[in-house]
């Protein structure tokens, strides 16, 4: 063996430096929780597609009526019941009104109902669930008992009763839906708060003298945001559907304003002759609900991959 080979051989038996030892360690760029969530959501093509569709829909609902030649109430009985054409993309309804713009206005109403009702549910549910979960003990027990009793009763019946009492119209619908569907949100929030309450940072905050409401609103609720967001996204299609349902039984918004539910209901009588009356509002309704559902599923997967089916 010549000298270089001997040297090499001896080199192999030299101890390893720390840098050489750590060479294999895998390092991932650190991201905040929400960045991680967004990254996961972006990877979900269906959810992203739904998100884009919904944003597009909202923009259309806001801006198209501003420049569209027809208004939703312009009647022209000469043109009644026309099939889709170049002048009327979706055709006309039985009063000669342009169906396309009516569907767009329907979007305005249905989306407003859906989002507004969900926000009301959110606020009521979060406050109720938050207080119940945080207070614990007897207060929690009592509040949850009330929820349990309310929960067994079909909420739709409540909504109907409330509508009969309040009379038809947008405001009534919002109140009716808003005051009934908060229950599931409250339960979820309470569950989250209960599990988060025991975590150490809560005790730390309390030791530093934070008041109860501060702990609740600054610490616990932001950390429970994940399931809250998912529930809210999923409750929007429920609200939209409930409104459509109410329209169906005659408790929807009043003419000539029309939500998709009202449009569909009106179309029922003559739909076999003029299927396009029902087809377009139904399509709009179905696509929107589908989009919210996919988005909600995607959010749930992105927020906690372990929750995946």
């Amino acid at each position: 063996m010549d000298n270089t080979q001997v040297k090499n051989k001896q080199n192999l038996w030299q101890p390893l430096s720390k840098e050489e030892r750590d060479a294999d360690k895998i390092v991932r760029p650190s991201m905040t929780y929400w960045q991680d969530v967004w990254r996961r959501l972006k990877g979900n093509k269906v959810a992203m597609g739904s998100l884009i569709f919904l944003i597009f829909l909202i923009l259309v609902a806001i801006f198209v009526p501003m420049f569209w030649p027809y208004s939703y109430s312009d009647q022209n009985l000469m043109n009644a019941n026309q099939s889709p054409s170049a002048q009327h993309i979706f055709g006309t309804d039985k009063h000669g009104r342009d169906l396309f713009i009516r569907v767009i206005y329907g979007a305005r109403i249905s989306l407003t109902v859906g989002i507004a009702a969900s926000i009301i549910n959110l606020v009521v549910g979060v406050v109720y669930g938050g207080i119940s979960g945080y207070a614990g003990g007897k207060t929690d027990n009592l509040m949850m008992r009330i929820v349990d009793i309310l929960y067994t009763i079909p909420l739709t019946l409540y909504v109907i009763l409330l509508m009969v009492w309040l009379g038809a119209g947008m405001k009534s619908i919002l109140i009716a839906i808003g005051t009934t569907y908060w229950i599931s949100m409250a339960r979820i929030v309470r569950g989250q708060i209960l599990s988060l309450k025991e975590q150490e940072y809560v005790m730390a905050a309390r030791t530093l003298g934070a008041s109860d409401s501060r702990i609740l609103f600054k610490h616990l609720i932001p950390n429970a945001m994940g399931p809250i967001i998912v529930t809210m996204t999923m409750s929007i299609p429920s609200a939209i559907f409930t409104e459509a349902f109410l329209s169906f039984i005659g408790l929807g918004v009043s003419a000539p304003k029309a939500s998709w539910g009202v449009l569909a209901n009106d179309a029922l009588g003559s739909f076999m002759l003029y299927p396009h009356h029902l087809f377009f509002p139904a399509l709009a309704l179905s696509l929107t609900m589908l989009a919210f559902n996919f988005l909600g599923d995607g959010l749930r997967d992105a927020l906690d991959p372990k929750m995946r089916k």
Binding site: T152, W165, L251, L268, F271, M272, A282
Partner: protein
């Protein structure tokens, strides 16, 4: 088990009581009297009607009377249809709705659950994706759209099935499908995810480690556990069928209680609205009670925790 049943039973009555009271309050707070939709009546007739319906009694007396009536099965007379009382009307129309709803529930359980199980066992295959696609559609497309589509395709174009009334079994096909669509899809998805979760559990690994056949592992060990969340869903499912019947009966012109209820809303027939609401609520609360019983039978941990 006995204590558990008793507790559930008591819960049921408490809930019914709350519902009855709430409904009563709601109806009596409605602005304007029960006759507001009609033309102004001569004062003597108004007085006579008020007499007949005890409208002049103080509210708490009316309430007690009403409660007494409810317990005895008397829900009062209809305001709109003279000579008819609410219980009678319910008796006339409910059987049809019961048939519709009952059949729908059978379809949901006997088709939805097995589909979910099969989908879970064949996770990842095209069959699974196919079923899941259908399930998503079923859950998001509203029942009236499904109904309309079916009427158009099978009723008008293909002329295969009758599109209204309720006479022969053939009449039942489309309404039952339209009514059950949402819940079949939902329960299939629920069963699938429940099975998938259960199959991952440690006790399934133990069952396989004992040398049991895969069939026994799935159908004895996994399925019973997977059924637990499904049984919990039956309550909300019944509620959905019930409210769904309003729409379906209207579309298919079926002479059921749903349609009657919707009409009574437009007619502002308050006693009927109240009575039917309480009746519906009673059905649902009873179903929840049955569900709780079944739950207690399947999951032995429940009963013990209650004590």
């Amino acid at each position: 088990m006995g204590r558990y049943v008793l507790k559930r039973f008591g819960s049921m009555f408490l809930t019914l009581f709350v519902i009855t009271t709430f409904t009563f309050i709601m109806m009596h707070l409605v602005p304007g009297g029960p006759f507001t939709s009609e033309k102004k009546l001569p004062p003597e007739i108004e007085r006579a009607l008020a007499e007949k319906y005890n409208l002049n009694d103080p509210i708490h007396t009316q309430y007690i009377d009403y409660l007494k009536g409810v317990v005895q099965g008397d829900l009062g007379p209809s305001f709109k249809y003279k000579g008819r009382d609410v219980s009678g009307m319910i008796g006339d129309y409910f059987p049809v709705s019961a048939q519709l709803g009952g059949t729908a529930i059978l379809v949901i359980l006997l088709i939805g659950v097995p589909i979910g199980v099969i989908s879970a066992l064949k996770q990842g295959t095209w069959l699974d994706s196919f079923v899941m696609l259908f399930a998503i559609l079923g859950v998001t497309i509203p029942s009236f759209v499904v109904a309309a589509l079916m009427i158009y395709v099978f009723g008008v174009k293909l002329k295969l099935l009758p599109t209204s009334r309720w006479a022969t079994p053939k009449h039942m096909i489309m309404p039952v499908i339209a009514l059950a669509a949402y819940s079949v899809a939902f329960i299939a998805r629920l069963t699938r995810s429940s099975m998938l979760e259960v199959i991952q559990q440690d006790y399934i690994r133990t069952a396989r480690a004992k040398g049991l056949s895969e069939g026994v592992v799935v159908f004895k060990h996994a399925l019973k556990n997977a059924l637990i969340p499904i049984v919990t869903y039956i309550g909300p499912m019944a509620a959905g069928i019930l409210t769904g019947s309003f729409v379906i009966e209207k579309i298919f012109a079926i002479p059921g209680m749903g349609r009657m209820f919707v009409e009574s809303i437009s007619n502002r027939d308050y006693t009927v609205i109240m009575g039917v609401t309480i009746f519906y609520a009673a059905i649902l609360v009873f179903m929840v009670f049955i569900v709780d019983l079944v739950y207690g039978l399947i999951d032995p941990r429940i009963k013990i925790d209650e004590d």
